[in-house]
Symmetry: C3
């Protein structure tokens, strides 16, 4: 059974889950603004001294490896362990895995901690599955079929639902997958919309199962992106209409 | 004597005070944009190696403990000492005090350095006064009366004016207090509006006494929030109209 | 021969250069959003452990010393060396040089690595050339003639084109200079527009010579600033119209 995305969005708005994000500095404010607009509550502390303690009051955890700071590198393993110990679902967003030495090793270790959802673009999913050299999102030239097989192997290995972002999004489990052909070409022209999708997965997985959560987050962002793009034609105003649309759609 | 808030705003616009902010990464750009729009000038360097030197050219200092980085943790004590030594007023914003181990201890020490103004939500003020376990803003269930008494005890202990943010804002001194029933429900739906209020307090305290400054900053933000909310109904566009309104109101 | 700025902008949009930015936290999202809107691609990793490796996949490098973090301080020298070794052009933006102890020494060392372009305001260029005590942008009281001579001495010393930002912008080489009297008074009322210009220089220098790149970046931003200011009168909405305009002008 898949919970419909509008039902998931409604539950997020009712429950206002506290989502602990260890995420890229460059898109931190977009991610926080988006979570608040979607009805969740962000918490962004990342140091090794505080993050493992503070994650215990959160409802879920997002680990995004983009612009990985030294604080983040040191805080992530203990924070994930604390969240797992407390039974909180967590989401892995392996930004730039494959091309960056520290985070590639780190992402590999984190797979053993069984994330509920993995969110990445095709080249990141391929690299994480050990089937490609990785790369940055916009460079991705991975074929959909390769990405689907890599995603399935990750799902099999660590029990996660894998959300592969692209012009057509994929949500992949061991024995099923769904394509979502929606969204807007303006989404990749704004910094951090991939990070935002990972954070939205972390909000949704508090109120439903990982499969429904990954699918709901994808549809929520794509639907918001389409509405936002009907009101803005360039990236500056699209940032504004997108945050507004996350609050507006699916009600 | 309380200086009227529009008079304080006018002085900030004339004097363009340089406000040194050691503040949460997630809302750093909102705080800087807001200070510039209000007529002040932001400076955000936070390392132990540079911040204590650079604060000497500033007119005031904001210490906000949100998303406390290792750089911030190490730089804060010496920076506050340098500012106090030079006679600069400083503002303490004890974000998440009570629930986060490092910053709870740090906030306690900083009280001895006699901030001019303390800015927090009810649960943070309670925790800082040793009367509650703390918590994140949106979780706050503190009663107004409890917050008032906690604020008064802090004012008595360290000589600060205490600004308690909430649906109704409180500005508290040892022997007087004022309630401000204004603002907009959209303010807490945007990341960092509390941080922004702390920064505005730090700008205002350069040009008037702490009591008038805390009250002026509160009224300035609330008035701007009301104007902004008359032009935007959702968080994305509210961020834009709020920054604009800080430049527009009280002239 | 100077390549016309619209020709340079067109090449950036066609080539989508990957620009590695080690830049101020406070304006990181503005810089990334602006680069994407201009048609380039940002990459913001700054740690000593990853930045020197990752810069090898980039097309150019921006080193901006604003809000210099400990991560940034440690990562910058090795990252510049790696970029230079690979023959990538790099841009130095010596924010707050002169008043900040660590970055003043660091900027001096970096000059030996021969940046293609140096971008700063008059007081920063004077301080970097050893002719002034430095200061923050908005404090600048340097005379245009002094700035021109300081810029020329820097060009002579390290072979860079020097872009001096102000009400009137200067682009300076050893034996020639151009004044650009354009832009908008709203540009300095938004945090990070100077950083943005440095990043735009780094995007342009991938597709043309440093002189044409510095001039093109200056004209591109000034033209976008003028268009943006025709659609917005205050800083909040100006941020939106400016990002949009970078995508719109010069086509």
């Amino acid at each position: 059974m898949t919970t419909p995305w509008t039902e998931v969005a409604g539950r997020v708005r009712d429950a206002a889950p506290l989502v602990h994000c260890l995420t890229a500095t460059v898109s931190m404010s977009l991610v926080a603004d988006a979570l608040l607009s979607a009805g969740a509550r962000p918490m962004m502390t990342e140091t090794a001294q505080e993050a493992p303690t503070m994650t215990r009051i959160a409802d879920s955890l997002l680990i995004n490896l983009g612009t990985l700071s030294t604080d983040g590198t040191q805080g992530i393993p203990a924070t994930v362990s604390a969240a797992v110990e407390d039974g909180h679902p967590w989401v892995l967003d392996p930004t730039a895995v494959g091309v960056a030495p520290v985070r590639t090793a780190l992402a590999g270790e984190l797979l053993d901690q069984r994330p509920a959802i993995i969110r990445g673009n095709a080249s990141e999913i391929l690299a994480l599955a050990g089937r490609g050299s990785g790369g940055r999102g916009a460079d991705s030239t991975a074929m959909p079929r390769d990405a689907l097989e890599a995603a399935r192997s990750l799902a099999l290995r660590c029990g996660a639902i894998v959300a592969v972002s692209g012009a057509i999004d994929l949500v992949v489990d061991v024995d099923r997958h769904t394509e979502v052909d929606a969204g807007s070409p303006l989404l990749p022209r704004l910094t951090g919309t991939g990070c935002l999708l990972g954070a939205l997965c972390a909000a949704c997985v508090v109120v439903t199962d990982p499969w429904s959560a990954a699918l709901a987050a994808t549809r929520w962002l794509d639907t918001a992106g389409e509405l936002a793009a009907s009101r803005a034609t360039r990236p500056g105003s699209f940032r504004v209409t997108l945050i507004d649309a996350l609050d507006e759609v699916g009600k």
